[in-house]
């Protein structure tokens, strides 16, 4: 449920490093906790995000039937690609959270920020400590 090649945040985003870019989405835990995702709002390509003193900016919004949740950008950089398919098929976040349900691709301005993210072992331990599955 948690691929070993990804990095994870405490807000349940994942990052896949692809050269000097990072692909970002929501983890299995996040999509399961949300339930049916019915709306996704993403930034336009070109938007800049900054992680300052470890604080992540909101890059988008995910809505389930009942709840509205922010999604956070764990890397500083510029959005270069956005998953437009989620506009019409938000359910991809539930169906394929590490594949077709990805959200944005961002340039990695500061590779050191990756060190602050959890690897799969740390993330699974974090989920266990939160009483999640």
């Amino acid at each position: 449920m948690y691929p070993a090649d990804l990095k994870y945040t405490r807000e349940h985003e994942w990052v896949r490093v692809e050269g000097n870019q990072g692909r970002i989405g929501l983890s299995h835990h996040a999509q399961h906790a949300l339930g049916d995702v019915v709306f996704v709002e993403l930034p336009k390509p070109g938007r800049q995000f900054v992680v300052a003193s470890g604080k992540m900016e909101t890059f988008g919004v995910v809505e389930s039937v009942k709840a509205v949740s922010d999604v956070f950008c764990p890397l500083s950089g510029e959005v270069v690609e956005v998953n437009a398919a989620l506009e019409t098929r938000p359910e991809l976040v539930n169906q394929d959270c590490y594949g077709a349900g990805w959200m944005i691709v961002i340039t990695i301005a500061n590779p050191k920020e990756l060190d602050a993210l959890m690897d799969v072992k740390a993330y699974e331990a974090f989920l266990a400590s939160e009483g999640a599955h």
Binding site: G35, D36, V38, F39, E41, V61, S64, V65, K66, V68
Partner: protein, 369 residues
Amino acid sequence: MTTPDHPLKQTPLTAAHRAMGAKMVPFGEWDMPVQYRGILEEHRAVRSAAGLFDVSHMGEVEFRGSGALAAVQRLTSNDAARLRTGQVQYSALTTEAGTFVDDLTVYKVADDHYMVTLNAGNHDKDVAWIRDHGTGTAEFRDLSDETALLAIQGPRAVEILQRLTPVDLAAVPYYWFVTGQVVGKRAILSRTGYTGEDGFEVYMSPQHAATVWDALLEAGSPLGLLPCGLGARDTLRLEAKMALYGNDIDEAHTVLEADLGWIVKLEKGEFVGRAALAKQKAEGIARKLVGFEMVGRGIARSHYPILKGGERIGEVTSGAPSAWLNRNIGLGYVAIAHAAVGTEIEILIRDQPVAARIVKTPFYKRPGS
């Protein structure tokens, strides 16, 4: 929802819900299933086949004796005198200001016996209110702890329930009830619900709830029945424009403003809130609960501002994606000048005005109704 500082209350089926893998949430004081497999799937099951809901958290009280009708009449806005034995009525427990202490269903069990169903979240408040405002000579009793309630709803609900009861369900009209047996257990079978579908609500002793639940699931599953949580219950009732207490109706809005004038019977005589409602009816209401659908991309949520040409004219009380109509719909109070069907409005979503339109309600009406 505030986190209670004491253990959550459990229905007779709480353990069964957990065992079936339901996602449980605190709902007021109660530990309730919000969904089993998914809200959208459960919603569609109720519209296309059937759904089974545990709503045992609802409160039930009764008024008995020669003063029973007088007590109900004094406390509620609808005219309970019009009920025949075996009939159910939607009504409001009103404040002096004509706003909602709660919304209710009133059951006429006999000339000297009325049962009233209350919202779970209002139970304690309602019981205190009723005692404070006097029950006259009626004997008033709280039945909530001794009553479980299941709802089976959907186009195949009657067919499924009929397999488990000797009661001729076809002979029970909408908003009528009978006392009978379900899988040999004594129950009240009420042709009512909170989904916009045909179906029954079944009141019984808590000790029989698991037996009846299991039997309905077993009989219904081959016909497409799914167990459903409060999540689907909320989206279903919204499509049917049935008010949710705490969202669409509350102590701040009158029964007339909530567009429920049909449950205000001024001519029946004195009741709590009558003077305020009579005055408001004569003067006209300044705002009204309306239904809208999103034209632009976005989902309206409770408390989002409603705008007209950039000016605030009201506030959203309920909003959700409609799983059946594939539109994003909502309810909200707007100034009466802007309440007409067809009015173009905007919903302020994360500081962005998004186009919406006031539409005729209910959003969904079951075929043939």
